[in-house]
Chain length 72, copies 2
């Protein structure tokens, strides 16, 4: 079983930003895959289970950006 959630993230402007967000989200427990799309400002995260929103917010914040929302 795995679930995929798309997070809206503000402030990412370049490949370095995408890399930083990908790294921080990838090390969260249960995360298998992270795909950042700069054009839409989103990160699609595949994980064992739905992630605690605070953990995601903290990871995005650690990378230097802001979690703006979650797509169902």
């Amino acid at each position: 079983m795995s679930t995929t959630t798309t997070y809206q993230i503000t402030g990412m402007t370049c490949g370095h930003c995408a890399g930083a967000v990908t790294r921080e989200l990838s090390v969260l427990p249960g995360v298998h895959d992270v795909e950042v799309d700069l054009g839409s400002g989103t990160a699609k995260v595949t994980s064992d289970a739905v992630l605690p929103i605070d953990a995601v917010r903290n990871a995005v914040d650690e990378a230097g950006y802001e979690l703006a929302g979650v797509d169902a």
Copy 2:
């Protein structure tokens, strides 16, 4: 004796970009200081002597950006 030259660089969008450009320019022979300004898209480089433009262009290219011009 030292000289300061301001280079116009296109494509820098965030602090990571500024860091990458700063790192590549800082290791050029004779360079003492690099100050990148994202707002104006410039890098102010202080060095022993005027740098060969090809060396600067290569360094900026290595960082992933483009040298667009030089201010006297």
